[in-house]
């Protein structure tokens, strides 16, 4: 596999993951708990997109927009019905509730659409070749959509009052409250926005690969890894973390590790040593473990923006 291809794959995966990671890092730092149902928000977005585009036969773009909006609403609902009632509870209780929620949502999707993988039935993608790598038109679209969405988020965070309030809440809640920020209202917006982004991320992932009920769970580990790598609360860190993970997973699989071990002169392995593809998801996880061993409190929460 050419190096350019590796970079390309990494960026594509990283951008999809980044959409999810930025939402998660925001809810983690503002709501102060690890929301294990975040992957299911992506799942809901993907299935709703399927509902609107395939079941209801709307144009894909409109379907996507409806789906994303609805996912945001679902996120707000999850807060209203469950997490709001647990505002004062210890983080563990919230985590367990989110776990229960994720299981329920996952299986509701499975009950409605069945356990088999589904596709969006879009027209066959054109393939472009360059520099020894190839990219499909679908992947190009994904990159553009993800990229613009991230730019939009940056603008939201820095050019709007809402964004400013979100940043304030994330950095220091009590200080923000003292400055008269209506915490609950901002929280509602946070859920809506992060829900939308998660839904978009999920739809894009499903667009490129496929859609099946375990998608949410499969993605949650890398999403957490990216968010923690980048520093919880740091949106740019989350995106960077997602890209790093994209690289790590792709490079990790392509590198002939016996030559690396040779480099360190530890011992000599005669054959080539590759990490089996099946362990791909373990790579993200191992990176996370490494980071947490070295920095048990996580990488210092970066101050967003600077």
């Amino acid at each position: 596999m050419s190096f350019v291809q590796i970079i390309l794959n990494a960026v594509i995966f990283g951008s999809q993951l980044g959409l999810l990671a930025l939402g998660l890092t925001m809810t983690y730092s503002i709501l102060r708990f690890a929301n294990f149902a975040h992957g299911e928000l992506a799942l809901v977005g993907a299935y709703l997109t399927y509902l609107f585009s395939v079941n209801l036969k709307l144009h894909f773009i409109s379907a996507l927009i409806f789906a994303i909006g609805l996912t945001g609403v679902v996120a707000v609902l999850s807060d209203r019905l469950i997490f709001k009632k647990l505002r004062e509870a210890p983080a563990l209780v919230l985590i367990i509730a989110s776990l229960g929620l994720s299981i329920s949502v996952r299986h509701i999707m499975s009950a409605i659409w069945g356990p088999d993988p589904l596709g969006y039935k879009q027209a066959l993608a054109k393939v472009y070749n360059f520099w020894g790598a190839h990219i499909t038109s679908t992947q190009l679209i994904i990159l553009m959509v993800a990229g613009s969405a991230m730019v939009f988020f940056h603008l939201l965070l820095h050019r709007t009052k809402l964004g400013k309030a979100m940043r304030a809440l994330s950095d220091n809640r009590s200080l923000a409250q003292d400055h008269g920020i209506n915490v609950e209202r901002i929280i509602t917006w946070v859920w809506f926005i992060c829900g939308c982004y998660a839904g978009l991320g999920g739809a894009l992932i499903a667009l490129e690969t496929a859609l099946w009920p375990e998608l949410g769970f499969q993605i949650i580990l890398p999403v957490f890894c990216a968010a923690i790598l980048g520093g919880v609360g740091n949106v740019y860190g989350a995106v960077a973390g997602a890209l790093v993970l994209g690289f790590a997973e792709n490079i990790g699989l392509s590198v002939n590790w016996s030559s690396v071990i040779d480099l360190f002169k530890i011992f000599r392995i005669e054959r080539m040593l590759f990490i089996p593809t099946e362990y791909k998801s373990a790579i993200s996880f191992l990176m996370l473990v490494l980071v947490l061993i070295l920095f048990p409190t996580g990488i210092m929460k970066g101050r967003k923006g600077h």
Binding site: A91, L92, A97, I103
Partner: protein, 299 residues
């Protein structure tokens, strides 16, 4: 299946899960350690016992080794994780559980990969007629249940149990009292893992065929549901939780005939119901069905 054998099946599964839930309860209920990878210890116990006994060792060796390897794994997991905050610990243990499953899936030389291990020998099977064997196995399982609970009850009431409780409630206070918290956490994880390993072994020898698909994170979640619903920090609670979930899980199998729905949909709805039950428990009955007892002294 006739009614008698259904009851036997239920009771055996309740017993196996009661020990598994006890393991998690030791880690979470008593010590406040968040372990989202509990299925890993279950799997390690099951595979250890299966591998060793299919290679010729007797059951008792299998189950003891199962407990020991799981305990070791518990130690290893606790080593890097016990200094982490709750959310990070949760994610890390979840990841560890997944890595274990991936190892089971890929290391075919050890675990026969996705083919699984079959023909796991059953203890004392020569002693009794094959149609009555399940009853004998039931006794074996519940003997282990009794032993586990007896041991844990003694420990919970001992100074060791007391320290675990402080660590759960207020770790800084435990430190200020001179208790080496880190070491206790290691021990609590290892202890809980031991119980999980034993229940894994019992599972393997009952079903006689195990594969990586038996050990998905759903199992972890179901055991958590047992501990949450039954009551944490509470031995009777683990059994009640196991009863509630196992009965619910298996009885809904028969519902599909009533409801005229396809089996997969009922299976999904079952999980949805458990998910909702957990959420409701957390919202409205956080101590679970059975509360922790107050320890009083005569003065």
């Amino acid at each position: 299946m006739e009614f008698g054998s259904i009851i036997v099946y239920f009771t055996i599964m309740i017993g196996i899960f009661a020990i598994l839930a006890l393991g998690l309860n030791v880690q979470y209920g008593f010590s406040g350690l968040v372990n989202f990878g509990h299925v890993a210890f279950f799997a390690i116990g099951a595979y250890t016992s299966a591998i060793v006994t299919t290679a010729g060792a007797p059951f008792i060796v299998g189950i003891i080794l199962a407990g020991l390897t799981s305990a070791m794994m518990g130690f290893l997991v606790a080593l890097p994780t016990s200094k982490l905050s709750v959310g990070y610990w949760a994610i890390t243990t979840l990841g560890i559980g997944e890595v274990i499953r991936l190892v089971a899936l890929n290391e075919e030389w050890l675990t026969k990969g996705s083919f699984g291990i079959e023909g796991i020998p059953q203890p004392l099977s020569k002693l009794i007629h094959i149609s009555n064997y399940p009853v004998l196995y039931l006794c074996i399982v519940w003997m282990f249940v009794g032993l586990s609970y007896f041991l844990m009850a003694k420990l919970a009431n001992s100074p060791f149990g007391r320290v675990l409780k402080v660590i759960r409630e207020e770790e800084d206070l435990a430190l200020a009292m001179g208790k080496p918290v880190f070491i206790f956490k290691l021990k609590a994880m290892a202890l809980g893992a031991t119980f999980a390993g034993i229940s894994g072994s019992l599972y393997a020898h009952y079903i006689t065929y195990i594969s990586p698909s038996d050990f998905t994170p759903i199992v972890t979640f179901i055991v958590w549901a047992m501990v949450i619903i039954g009551g944490k920090g509470n031995l009777a609670g683990s059994i009640i939780g196991a009863v509630v979930i196992v009965v619910f899980f298996n009885s809904t199998r028969y519902l599909k005939d009533f409801l005229h729905m396809r089996a997969e949909i009922v299976a999904s709805l079952r999980m949805v119901a458990i998910g909702i039950l957990v959420i409701l428990s957390v919202l409205y009955k956080p101590e679970g069905l059975i509360k922790e007892k107050k320890k009083t002294y005569d003065i």
